[in-house]
Symmetry: C2
Subunit: 232 residues, 2 copies
Amino acid sequence: MAYDASNLPDVSGLTVGVVGGTGDQGRGLAYRFARAGHTVLIGSRAAERAARSAEEIAGLPGVAAGASVSGAGNDEVARRSDVVIIAVPWDGHAATVASLAEALAGKIVVDCVNPLGFDRQGPYALPVEEGSAVQQAAALLPDSRVCAAFNHVSAPLLADPEIDRIELDVLICTEDRELVDIVGALAARIPGMRGIYAGRLRNAHQVEALTANLIAINKRYKAHAGIRVTDL
Amino acid sequence: MAYDASNLPDVSGLTVGVVGGTGDQGRGLAYRFARAGHTVLIGSRAAERAARSAEEIAGLPGVAAGASVSGAGNDEVARRSDVVIIAVPWDGHAATVASLAEALAGKIVVDCVNPLGFDRQGPYALPVEEGSAVQQAAALLPDSRVCAAFNHVSAPLLADPEIDRIELDVLICTEDRELVDIVGALAARIPGMRGIYAGRLRNAHQVEALTANLIAINKRYKAHAGIRVTDL
């Protein structure tokens, strides 16, 4: 069927946790979900740092006065959230995800990590033994519901309080078709975004790696590029 | 600098050849460049087949009565064209490109081939020893100017005479920055399209592979999906 935002489930009651929520991407997504009215939990290895980050986000324009944004250690965040976004640096991805396997059992896990290397010529895709970051997460989290999403969302756009709409599509890769609706509905909580099913996990590598191309585009055109899928 | 179509060079006088011009993608691109008023040469291993295909294209709606669309063997097409689009099946890519190395010396070569496999679960990206189809072409064509482009353009949209505009961006990967303007200008000859620099050849794999995701999107949403880069 065609993409139809009016068919999406109501996800407004879901608690969104962000593991690695003090990094640029994690903070930006946490801010947007706080703006959308979700209960948001910022996770970090250091609970105090997460708490400070949560306090900052709660004070940003567009976040309601009584909004529930708090910080905690990654493990606690994983346990207390319905949906957990993994937004850690690729370096620590496997170790962090593995350490949270028990806390993430039964949870929806959204991996937005892009395995990229950087040298003088700019960014490039790193090979991943499991195929992609999200496949690595899926292998380490057999009891979670795992997808890739939010890989291409520009952190500076997310963080800019003056930007109300972020016009792009969130490509969702997963084996779990029902997840597409839930994560697609979450994406649609950020004005301008659509969540689009973009294939199975085995086709997630190129979605993650495409971030290197978006960085090249940003450099060339002085932009914060994203992807919109046409004809949908 | 920002993307600016008004800065593009005039490429209207370039002869466009299509190696593998009797396949769906090649035919579709040939049709669009013929509609745009280019001299178009359809290449095939069998010159008669190419000639038949050229005759058909010349008769399609939107192609001017006196348009120059003709067919020939791949080698002759390569020699007589300014810009040569490689649109052969991945299976025959290396052999075909290698056989044309001399004919393509000094030419602009645009590779739009996507190395994909298909099984019961649909399409998936094939590993390529050189990294990507276009890197394979670049390795085989040391005397040509090589880029990847037009990887994501839907053949059914290209072929549909009732469609005037095809709203999508053509991602151009190359080491040759000047090529971006020329191939970008060619893309812009097809109404609705922009040609966007999307990184070096080493980042072409994921652009080619993303076609597997677009096929998944097409299946799920009954669409002919393409990519538009946002914030440009």
